[in-house]
Amino acid sequence: MSSKELQSLISEETIELDREFENKIDAIKGLLQLIDDTGNVKDREKALNALKEREEEATTGVGKGIGIPHAKTEAVTEPAAAFIRAEDGVDFDAADGEPARLLFMLLFPEGTEDEYLEVLSSISRSLIHDDVREKLLNAETPENAFEIIEEEVSE
């Protein structure tokens, strides 16, 4: 299985639809909780701090209603991902000012520079297409969202 594939890092357990969030940090905590619930996070606080540091460096609100908070951290031993669709847009400090509804989280162990950039870029490339974002916005169940990710959001 290629490490490039988001579908290998995400599962229905780490997908949630139509959550409500107060703000970006609240959304990041919600995404992290999904990954933590699978037992793949050794140190939740450490992971959260790494994610916050990354946001301070530059926002992961990449525009077009998408947020991809991500970090490399010793808090995980394997790459892991989560997807949440927010009920209302969350302000992710994007350059285009558009609130984010499609939220992806990526956590990678230290020392995985290339794989990490490859997964990030493959998600971004897929989400540039209006029809892919539209499908995710219209997904009815986490299972349905997973199928869309499987078919569209990977290389």
Binding site: K64, A94, S124
Partner: protein
């Protein structure tokens, strides 16, 4: 139209702070600016879109082609080249 091929210097590639700086600089110019990865056949993408830049996934040492069209195209490319060729700490 002006274009230039530059090599990515920041350690983490065109990502995080350098990518965000890049988008800021793009927005300071009137020129229509697009970027592409010359090692692929993919069409140039909007240089002012963080999503598009992240989609390129350019790493340190890889090349990027910048093309700009407009009255300040050359200046824009100069400024962008500086962002791209400045190594981060």
């Amino acid at each position: 139209m002006s274009s230039r091929t530059v090599e990515i210097a920041p350690k983490a590639g065109l990502h995080a702070r350098p990518a965000s700086k890049f988008v800021e600089v793009v927005q300071e110019y009137e020129a229509d600016i697009k970027i592409s990865d010359p090692s692929t056949e993919e069409k140039p993408v909007d240089a002012g879109s963080m999503l598009a830049i992240t989609g390129l996934g350019l790493k340190k040492g890889e090349e990027m082609e910048i093309e700009a069209e407009g009255s300040d195209a050359e200046e824009a490319i100069d400024a962008l080249e500086e962002v791209i060729t400045t190594p981060e700490e």
